[in-house]
Symmetry: D2
Subunit: 298 residues, 4 copies
């Protein structure tokens, strides 16, 4: 099938590769075209514009981390047409990024007004999981659109979960999942600060608690990075984690749901950005917690 | 071996049973003697006093949830001798309960002053795990004492982890582990309130997030109880959970470690107690979070 | 001078009256025209459209509580021209409402692009103070505009403080001032809950602490309302207080300043709205705090 | 009248001076006797022991900041008799310090068991106010005792408020009053960080908000110190402020009243101590808030 792919960051690049390898005709676009090289080498075509990537594609994927970039790509600007202009009636735009529920609703409506379909299909997993096609993808959109994109999503992820007709629901599930991870990071950060101040090795603690109680690969992974204070290179940038928690709180605000733990995680991530740590991995939230406990080297 | 066992609550009763079944000569004591019946039926001896339970026992276990009860049992009172009076030189007192680090240190010193040994050996696991002898036990105390009690602990738990010579360290590891669970409950409570307000089923969310990401039996167990709002009978009483978080914060205070998530969980548990929910399972913290979001039926 | 006045809520109505009484030719507009009657009786002219209120007025005031209403009034819509269309070059739009710094910046730019001036002139004080012309007004805008509007502002307020050329600065000062009041309400709410649970009368406490220590009319006023649990009629609606704290946190987010007390107040106000208390006075935040302490009647 | 005075810190020294000047026969005791010199010069007698200071005194005042020191002075130790041993039946011990409600209750009971009276009479005001005899004193104890000590308290304070027969009530009112001040410091600290990040001078803000709205000498005093970042010499040491908030939270815990703002202030003060700022004035809480916002020089 001919598909377009907009946005070739760490995640997008790997996911587009899976589509190419599965034999699809993939036209890729990225703000910095150089990042497309490995894909072109593998058989993708480099599009010079967003519209060119959409050309004659019945399905276009986007993986753009930042709302403004996504809005630009969808709506176009100046004399540059966007996805919505370039897609034909009945075509599908699948956003793989973590976006807010409000934007998810707006895109749903905007595509519907052009007779097109919008699918929110955020992914769970870090770049290593994307490379191994072990992502979990949660997709929501109307039935016809889901039916068409499901086989493509299955090329990129190990598991594709269809969540129904309402794209913002998929966006919310993803934001809420990230919130659980962020909460776990906060809890581990506070636990480690307390243990270190008492001369107990966080690694030994992790072994006891995760080895016997939680038995979770995600505690294992994050907990080990944090015990080793290895915050770079970032698997997921702290500034992006902050963005996601901010979007979560915006959804909570609209639903009148106080989320004090959401606020706490938000404040610590914001403080990390204020202290110049926005480009570290988001586990570097632990540095803020440690500094607040007077632990100088984090 | 002849051992004493003080405190026959849900956990203590089951753990003492394992000792009896393993062929040890167990003398049990409980404030309400009726609770000793199943143990006596299995071959234990009912002691009329704490001192009688300790008589000629080289090792005495205690499983007393509440600090005051433990202090009474150790120090005795009025004309009633306590564990410390009844044990001989070189004997060992093993506390299986979750106690504060300050009390742990005090008991260590008090037994040492009488030429005895104190081992803090708190257990991870709920009553079902105790029945199945699948508990994890984290023990700290001096080498000689640990060597003597390890075989007994292995009768009660699936895994015994020796943490070194300092009993308060084991107490702190246990309190910190409970804090991680409490934090997970708080995070799930906030997540569920948000999802419910948006018409998304918490169970479906749990399946997605735990099934693919966390893959943790503890998220599965707690998350399901919370999704089904099944807060009674309590696996672990909310009022006891509050007590443990209070002890954690006391340790954090002494170490000058701010734990804002610890405080948040504490406040929600305290609010639950203030609202008359102290006898529910500690996952009922979710009722406070839901009520704060205007969800009337929790 | 001929002036326009857009928005006749409790505050706007009284402020416009002062302009009429001072002899100015005031054209008023309100979504619900009936609210203009007392003003028309006093000599104001009722304008049928926003544009008509602006007609030939060199200065137009707006007092619109809600951002969307203000944006509509400024930009117009459908075939309805807005303030920006109706004002001529060199004319001034003065917003008296509490607005966000982002909107303040946008309006500054929008008016500048039309050769007009924008002045942010938020007011401190409740309706009684407005009636008595005892408001404090903090105004920012370019020098020429300030010079022109200052005499008009002095008709409405007891004190007019010029804050410089940057309208968002005035908006931020107002939001921050409201934050101080909200923080005081939160502190009193927690204090009262603790005292009541201990059988101490909050009124007696207030007398001691404010009478001798704070000696502040604002503690006296708010503290008395709260001690008497008199939350209606609202002097300032809780839902509007929530809006202001939300705007404050948006400014804090852009500046990367964590404001945990801001978040706490926000969550309590949001919870109050979720529990159906949005139309009470914002001191009703105390009901949330009391309910969290299990005090059933607030 | 012959009175004893135990504890000659900054506050105690000045208060004892007022008693001497009023013509009372004052016997003073302090751990470091050198601090008694100015009092002896003024006519007081230096007692070598706590008991000697109590000798033949019908009323003994204590002003000891720290619970342990107060308990030692009351109960004595080793071969050293304490206040309770030295006072006769019907005599009165007045504690002027800020103490916890639990200790207040314990001392009430202990003195009652010896046929003596305990009065909790904490004072509001900083050392300057003590010097000028402008303190406010809130006293609780049984009627007979209050009647006897009231004239003495009136020598030291501008205003003496009798709160009834229950000493812990006076202690709680004092702790709660301190909590209001701490909350105000937290609110100002967050406000200032936000303003500074936006290029607005905190002093100008203070002038606007306190000059027109709060009109409170306490906002003026604390707000100016904070705007000028003048945290030394301390009027009230941060570590003592932390102690008081800790005592407040202990009372709130016993009453099952969640105080999230209390916890927030506590965490910031604890973080300040962890960062080595415990000896600064307690307004230095602002340094923690500023550092969290990435403002390096506080």
């Amino acid at each position: 099938m001919r598909v377009g792919f907009i946005g070739l960051g760490a995640m997008g690049q790997t996911m587009a590769q899976h589509l190419v390898k599965a034999g699809h005709e993939v036209r890729v676009w990225n703000r910095t075209p150089a990042r497309a090289r490995p894909l072109v080498a593998a058989g993708a075509t480099l599009a010079k514009t967003v519209a060119a990537a959409c050309d004659e594609a019945a399905v276009v994927f986007s993986m753009l981390a930042d709302d403004a970039a996504l809005i630009d790509a969808v709506s176009g600007g100046d004399n540059e047409p966007g996805i919505i202009d370039a897609l034909g009636e009945g075509d599908v735009h699948v956003s793989l990024a973590t976006i807010g529920t409000e934007l998810s609703a707006r895109l749903t409506q905007a595509h519907a007004e052009s007779g097109q379909h919008f699918v929110a299909a955020p992914v769970f997993g870090r770049p290593e999981a994307a490379t191994a096609a072990r992502l979990t993808i949660v997709a929501a959109g109307d039935d016809a659109a889901l039916a068409r994109v499901q086989p493509l999503l299955e090329v990129m992820g190990q598991k594709v979960i269809l969540l129904g007709a309402d794209p913002p629901a998929a966006s919310l599930v993803k934001l809420t999942g990230n919130f659980l991870i962020a909460s776990m990071i906060e809890a581990l950060a506070e636990a480690y600060a307390l243990l270190r101040r008492n001369g107990i090795d966080p690694k030994q603690f992790l072994e006891i608690v995760n080895g016997n109680l939680f038995r979770s690969p995600i505690y294992e992974g994050y907990g080990t990075l944090m015990a080793e204070r290895q915050f770079t290179p970032p698997g997921f940038k702290l500034a992006l984690g902050l963005k996601d928690v901010r979007l979560l709180l915006a959804s909570a605000d609209r639903a009148a749901v106080p989320m004090p733990l959401g606020s706490l995680v938000y404040e610590h991530l914001l403080s990390a950005v204020a202290r110049g740590k926005g480009d570290l991995d988001w586990t570097a939230l632990a540095l803020v917690v440690a500094e607040d406990a007077g632990i100088a080297d984090g």
